[in-house]
Amino acid sequence: MTILVIAEHDGKTLAPATLNTVAAAAKIGGDINVLVAGQGIGAVAEAAAKIAGVAKVLVADNAAYAHQLPENIAPLVAELGKGYSHILAAATSNGKNILPRVAAQLDVDQISEIISVVSADTFTRPIYAGNAIATVQSTAPVKVITVRATGFDPVAAEGGSAAVEAVAAVHDAGTSSFVGEELAKSDRPELTAAKIVVSGGRGMQNGDNFKHLYALADKLGAAVGASRAAVDAGFVPNDMQVGQTGKIVAPQLYIAVGISGAIQHLAGMKDSKVIVAINKDEEAPIFQVADYGLVADLFEAVPELEKLV
């Protein structure tokens, strides 16, 4: 068995989710190759070659692959992937965008967001917003899979010395082009990789009040998240949303402030090790999953918490 892992990167640095994906590949067993596709991606390829357990790094460096346009990358992955038993990508916005296109080109069903490996052809994945876990078996000659990063502990980023090989194939479908992007700036740890996450919901009342959470987060070295209600109300940008339709996190500590705990929000955080809920409504569903619940006004509790930690 040989497994192809698609590297997740922004053109300059290798994203940590790649390490979790390689960990899933290691659980399946077999040789692991990593594909780095993009433009001017020498540094990413170098980082990929250092990942523990990686046998070979394939580098497709071409203008057509800049910005990870799926119309151009999917044919490349499908072509390379024919020789592999498994193709894996992280269930990031890129992975979700590209991989189903690859699966359809290979005429196989995809398995999305696996959280564990049962055997080389059998995997588990959450369905119905995490309210059920399905065990799925694939009979496809090439198994195409996206990996939920929080389901797998990352492999070491250092210690490997994989051979680096250039891929000459160029696919340019010419049906799409990149126009621009607007990335949210943040000095805090990345939401999906943070050890502690502090999230606010509708109970924060406005965007300005999130300063209380930022102050607490900075003291804890935490990332700040939000519920959909807080995003829709315009308190914070949408890339902070935690939930079924936002980001899936599983930190050591998740502090939910002013969040009622709708099914869709729980889908994004209920695998956290310890959950703390601060809410003034003691009937809020969030208390059913919280390890520690505090029924209190968040505007008094959060500043006090910040002082005490």
């Binding site: 059920a132 078996q137 209920k270 520690y292």
Partner: protein, 249 residues
């Protein structure tokens, strides 16, 4: 131009589903069913494109059981012009659905196909991308803004770090994210009118599509339950517990 919108009948998003005792799946008997929330957004976007004069006809398609006609009627009440049901009693995979949609696209020749980004039952997030692969069209997934200009469509997409805008040649495939729009409600007169709009019923066999799958669900289980937590009385007690009991700060 013609816009094709795909909608799925799913368990209502407010329902807390239960896993069947024999682990064969989740219990959907007597559970409220609705149009998938992302599909509602897709229908709304198509209707807005028509109101702007960009779209001339909206065809809504669903692949599923006979009862999915309810969701098609809902879409017709929201402003779609006609509906197609590809009737299939079995549970189809995303690839099978994408192949059936490809057959409908070949038949209808729409300039734009709008789907939801994922169905809240299977949580797959695959069908739109697979349809794009099968048709060879460009794909604008997780769209939060759609602007048609001439023979191109600019799609602003929600990505992990923020937003990205891509330009696609028409025809193209778009999948909707939550923030694309706020779907409207169907008015009673429109619900009455929708009953008279055309609804065509097809079968996978008639479309010449095989729905064979390479995936098999072996079992469905309830997730591990979290052990019951405790309520603390003060912030000081909370901090003490987090430091000494949970040891997470």
């Amino acid at each position: 131009m013609k816009v094709l919108v795909a909608v799925k009948r799913v368990v209502d998003y407010n329902v807390k589903v239960r896993v069947k005792a024999d682990n064969s799946g989740v219990d959907l008997a007597n559970v409220k069913m609705s149009m998938n929330p992302f599909c509602e957004i897709a229908v709304e976007e198509a209707v807005r494109l028509k109101e702007k004069g960009v779209a001339t006809e909206i065809v809504v398609v669903s692949i599923g059981p006979t009862t999915a006609q309810e969701q098609l009627r809902t879409a017709l009440a929201l402003g779609a012009d006609r509906a197609i049901l590809v009737e299939s009693a079995e549970d189809l995979t995303s690839l099978a659905v994408a192949k059936l949609l490809k057959a409908v696209v070949d038949k209808e020749q729409p300039q734009l196909v709008i789907l939801g980004k994922q169905a809240i039952d299977s949580d797959n997030n695959q069908t739109g991308q697979m349809l794009a692969a099968l048709t060879g069209y460009g794909q604008g997934t997780f769209a939060s803004k759609v602007e048609v200009a001439g023979d191109k469509v600019a799609v602003t997409r929600e990505i992990d770090g923020g937003a990205q805008t891509v330009s696609l040649s028409l025809p193209a495939i778009i999948t909707t994210d939550l923030r694309l729009n706020e779907p409207r409600y169907a008015s009673l007169p429109n619900i009455m009118k929708a009953k008279k709009k055309p609804l065509e019923v097809l079968t996978p066999e008639a479309l010449g599509v095989s729905t064979a799958s390479t995936n098999k669900t072996l079992k469905v289980e309830a997730p591990a339950a979290r052990s019951a937590g405790i309520k603390v009385k003060s912030v000081a007690e909370l901090v003490e517990k987090l430091k000494n009991e949970a040891k997470v700060i």
